[in-house]
Amino acid sequence: MIAKLNSRILALTACILLIAGFTGCKDMFVNPLVDKDTGDDVTLLLIDRNFIKTKFVVRLVDIATQEPIDQEEVEVRFVGDDANNLINFSGTKGTNYKTSSGFVEIGYDPNIVLSDQDPQVFTIIALSANYVSGPQVVEFTTDGVKNLTIRMIRTTFGKSANASIHGEPYDITFAGIKDNPNLGFNRNISSLSTGTAYEYVNLYMPTTAGNIVCDNLTDNVVYADFGVYILRWGAAGSIVPPATPSRNSNLIAGDFIYSSVKRTGLVRCNSGLTIGVSRADGKAGTGTFDYKITFADGATQTGSVTCTFPQDNLVEPIYYPSTNAAVKVEVFGDAQYNISAAVNLASSCGSRADFFATPKSNLNAIRFIVQYTCPNVPVGIALSIGGQFRKVGATGAWTDFEFEEGICTLQLEPLADYDMQVNIDGVFYFFTVPTDPIKVDAFINDQTSTEYTIKRLLIEPDEFGFTVTTDIEFGAGICDLLK
């Protein structure tokens, strides 16, 4: 009797377990490729769309005010054989780009193998209705983000029309007349870089056609060469770096004339100078920092480097005085970081200067993990793109940063709102992000953008400080760009 009872209990138990098991099995027929939470197609593989490993971030600023030129359309041209390898964010080759945001970001064909034996060289020129840049040579042998600040000059004449008083160590004769007032003086542009051993002196704009002659160099000990560069927009006849400047050319009205000199005793260093920036505590972070290299003869070379710590940035090429190769290298902090003191090097060639970034006080480290998707496409995108942020209500300069594979760590104030903009194909896409977790729901519900939808946003404390995880679904317009 007991045995029979045990058998029945066992049988009942087995029966219940099996029924429970089979009932639980019904979920096995749920399609795992459909997201359980959203019902969207699930993302299987995340692709870094950062095909472009060498990027040029070109910022167009007014030489006088340093403000971005974002109130008018600027055409940026890239000149030279290697410029044919430039591509936009969609992979389309091109050498002319137009922007009204004061910002152009382009890439270099990733199939071109970069080597220090074969430097890639091109010249950047920018022109708008009211501004012109000094043509600037860009030369590089390594990949990475190259920050180029193009300082543009207003194309309105200055008060003086007498060329001889503007500092060239040689005579400039136009249409047979020395210091001809028809060769309109614009301004001193010695702060602009040619990107070569030559230095700009002044910008002129002839109002009539005529022949220009440069001669009578006053100091052939200090200067090795001289002449003028000519920018003739829309027609043949330009002479721009890295070509040798001309001492005798025919000009037409509307040309831009850049007087220039080359000092003696300059040595070209192909191996460049490495600026390394890292966090002293080894933590993550990103920022864009201005640098200044001061040579022994007082000449300077400036620029900026974009870093995702730790990062080395090669400044190349370097032209230093043969009599003294020593340099002082300075890197300047931004809204996020203070940077360690200047570094003095015995030689600028092949050396490295290391700097440490320290977060400014009262800022919290916030790590952003952003994954982008396109509607009905089962692939996530982890973009490596540049961006800028600024606290809501602030009017100062934006702070640059860079996503690397969709991740970046920024130093931001807690419980604040930040305006952010990321740049896709030369266009800034703007949004506001709170660092206050309480505001997240409102942020999600109040979306109005037609260009993207934030599908998920989490703000969680962790060992980094806070981590903001965001899934953004782009609209069709941006997705078309990414295809």
Binding site: I47, D48, G380, E405
Partner: protein
């Protein structure tokens, strides 16, 4: 639903009184060997039938399957290889509710493992340029049970070792509880974010397959008694 009804019916049979195992002649314990084929693999058991209603089985089974295929995602073709292995080293206890109906419970060391390797097999046309497949990279996704030592429960029909005859035959229906599958992802090249811990893609995909915690088992076994005591 129909399956559930059939299972219930089989379970209820002994309760409604067909269990008349007692009338048999004197039982002789024995040891035998069995070969088996199941959804969990091919293998064999050593069966020790130590009581008229009870037996122990120590067994091994394994099934492997490999296939190559190409799948395409967002215009990129991936040459993919799936290597799938299942099986277990198990120790099971059978309890006979009736002469030819038994329940089985036990544990096994779960050998389940799936390995998916993919290599980009086409370039990406990116505007005017092509991104070669070598730069797109590779991925490897491995699936393992979270419970390597997995419990098993099932019902069977027949005998895992013949009661009087040398030969025995059994059909079993059961399930291995192996827990939610764990994913391990490795990737290279442009696919690197897939395995970046910060992107937590493995956790997202694990959530998508968490329902596969039970591995269903259908098993046929044929045994031969080699020793009787």
């Amino acid at each position: 639903m129909r399956t559930v009804k059939i299972v219930c019916l089989f379970c209820l049979l002994p309760i409604i009184g067909i269990n008349n195992l007692s009338a048999q002649s004197r039982f002789t314990p024995g040891i035998g060997l069995a070969i088996k084929a199941s959804t969990n693999g091919l293998g064999g058991d050593v069966v020790y039938n130590f009581h008229q209603k009870m037996s122990l089985r120590l067994g091994y089974e394994q099934l492997g399957y490999k296939t190559d295929f190409v799948f395409e995602e967002q215009g990129i073709k991936y040459a993919t290889n799936l290597a799938f292995k299942t099986g277990s080293i198990s120790l099971l206890f059978d309890y006979y509710l009736a002469k030819y109906i038994f329940v089985t419970a036990g544990v096994g060391y779960n050998l389940f493992h799936a390995d998916v390797n993919g290599t980009a097999d086409s370039y990406i046309q990116f505007g005017d340029i092509q991104i070669p497949k070598e730069k797109i990279g590779t991925f490897n996704i491995q699936v393992d049970p979270s419970l390597k030592v997995s419990p098993y429960l099932g019902v069977g029909f027949g005998r895992t070792l013949g009661l009087k005859k040398k030969l025995g035959f059994a059909f079993q229906l059961g399930a291995i509880y192996q827990g939610s599958p764990n994913l391990t992802i490795q990737s290279t090249g442009l696919l690197s974010p897939t395995s970046n811990p910060d992107q937590a893609q493995d956790i997202k995909l694990e959530n998508q397959i968490s329902q596969y915690s039970v591995y269903p088992v259908l098993k046929l076994s044929l045994s031969y008694k080699i020793l009787s005591f």
